[in-house]
Amino acid sequence: MIDCSDFQSFGQYFSTHGFTDTVTCFVQNPPFNTANIGNSLWMIIALPILGAFFCGVFGKFMGRSNTHLIASASVFGSFLLSVMVFWAVNPSSTVAPNPFGSTLRYAVGADYGTWFQAGDFRVNFGLLADHLSASMLMVITGVGFLIHLYSTSYMSHDKAYWRYFAYLNLFVAMMLTLVLADSLVLLFVGWEGVGMCSYLLIGFWYDDPAKAFAGRKAFITNRIGDFGFLVACFLLVLTMGAFTLQAKNNNFPGDGTGSSQVFKAGLSAKGPLSFAAIDAFTRALPSKADSNQVTLSTVIDNGPLKGFAYGAMVTVILLCFLLGAAGKSAQFPLYVWLPDAMAGPTPVSALIHAATMVTAGIYLFCRLSYLVVLSPTAMAVIAVTGGITALLAALIAFAQDDIKKILAYSTVSQLGFMFMAIGAGAFWAAFLHVVTHAFFKACLFLGAGSVMHGNAEETNIKKLGGLSKEMPVTWATFLISTLAITGMVPLSGFFSKDAILHALHTTTLEGYEHILHWVWYVGLATAACTAFYMMRLYVLTFHGTRAPDAKVPHAHESDWQMTLPLVVLAMLAIAAVAHGIPVMENANREGPLQTVMENYLHPVFQNAMRSIEATGFVTVEHEEGLPWGAWGMAWAIALAGGGLSIVLYRFVFKRDGQWSGPAEFIRSLAQHKFYVDELYELLVIRPVKFVSFIFFKIVDSLLIDTVAVRGTAWVTAQTGAALRYLQSGDAQSYAAIMTLGLMCALFYALFKVL
């Protein structure tokens, strides 16, 4: 443990102590008063809202540069405040108010009083920043600012730029609300808000009917998710209400965390849907069967849920939340809206559909980590959903030629990885992947945007090529990000992905002993696929010769407003590696070394970890030392997938499908009917394309397009039409139907009295 008591300034301390200690102490001692920063949290949200207001209302009259200035400055202001918040949550002395008795350390919060109240159901307008949300704040405002900067150039020719910036600012505000919320209700406000903004931005260029259909698809899938979210909230309120009535004194041990009075007082002060309340509830609800306590296996004895066990209810609640998260975070089978969402402007794809909004589902589960670990069933379902999504999306990405579509499917696939981590209880690994993915995927999208910008909006990778010299900055940053996502060693993606795979490999769920093991295999396969199709994308776009049917003969590099964000994001994609290396001592005082991220997020997930130990639902085998073997295997897999892709696309095929060779020798072999190309086509590409085509047909075309989108439309239209037939405009028919209704009610009532 480092003693920072004599820290005054960076320079003074550095002269007497080592570099690491100095940095640690610097981070733990913000040069401002941290006591009151909670009261300023609302400003982080208010700034972008103000920006949206000014851009939306006065944008048309202010001119381009003023609009850009206001939009970017408001997000940058939020970013500065976020840095302060991020800094302020680090000293261990920081404590957020918590009426449930337990101390909430490493967090700042503010409760602005009752939002609304109905009896014992109360919702406060409260904001809370702990390590988890502070990191998200940095990502949202930081990446958000870079994308604003990028957009000033990218959207410079668009007429409705003011509307675009207003929506973008509004989105940032809503995402910040989602992250800062200290209750599920306020989180839902942000949840709906980001969906709304996403909907508006997907349809920003709305002339195309296909895009209108894409908007509808995004809409319906998200509504399915919202439905799950709301039902989960209702069930949670009911379960907690039943628990409050049924709980025994032993449920509230006298270790200072509270008694039943404290619990009830906290509930009436914060309301059942606040995270503090859910946390207190999970702490009071142990798993081990004990006749003196209400436990997970106890049957609810009051209220509408009477007859169900608490554990079963927790599972159902989590599955409903999974439905919600699957809609927002594009998981199987609700992922289909995300690739279609690429109809919007590219910076929007980078911000909303890669870095921030789609991670809301992972954020939600991380927030509710203490609830998640109470149900191994739900965890297994989450992990399997993630696995299916990851592999399926990776397979589909093989068959795509559109640069943005490939990136979209790769996003879906990476989100699947994050869900696998949640399912294995490795919340920190999921979140680490959220952060690193935000950097390199945003960089990839922005790079793709830069490529399109320089090539007359060409998106087909088969019609690009040879851009490495013409667009050097884009090329370099794209290469770094591609290597990061494929999992090459010194880059951040390697560590975050490996953390997930490692967690899958070493974790066992009670009752589902082999599930995670199978998911682990799926993860490895997906990692290989990822490396393959990403390298294919990279090679076809930047190497080789320019395609003969390219739209412009020579590409041009983009402006500094576009390249600067690329460079910064690429550097971040490298620098984020620092989070993934296990160098910190274990926060539990025992066990192996932890990664920086795990150690950093320990205060957030400690209750979940405590539950894991107490319940025994989740078993993790610890290994001594660094996992060299696992690292090596992951690296080898990524290298194999990527290398195969490079070899095939760089040296074996030409882009027109005819085959060329690095040497005249191979060419001559080919001419002598040595059909390696066709063989490869037959053995690898065709089957993969076929499988992905089948999945695409079944899931996307049949399940979602036909059944969900068109099917619901058809059923409702038919029912609506049938009802409209009754609405004939004839007053006497109306009277007749009223009489019929009357008679039915009368017969029912008289039947009851008989």
Binding site: Q727, G729, A731, Q732, A735, T739
Partner: protein
Amino acid sequence: MQLVPTQHYLILAAVLFCLGMLGVLVRRNALVVFMCVELMLNAANLTFLAFARERGDVTGHLSAFFIIAVAAAEAAVGLAIVIAVFRSRGTVNIDELHTMKH
């Protein structure tokens, strides 16, 4: 003295009520439909009065007063509306009034 049982009056009222209801459902002429509604109101009146005698309570009588007043007010506005319909359509046949539907 042997009184006519209340039930007799009530059943008469029910018959009147249902005849009125049937008329509302099948007659074409808007005015006749309106008359049938008056029939239904009278059935309600009769019921009130029958119960009033049974209980010796004048509430029923007062209710009938008020119902007659309401019927008069409804008649004034209703007939004005029928006139307005006739002016705009040239007919008061109820099955021809379906500009708005679905």
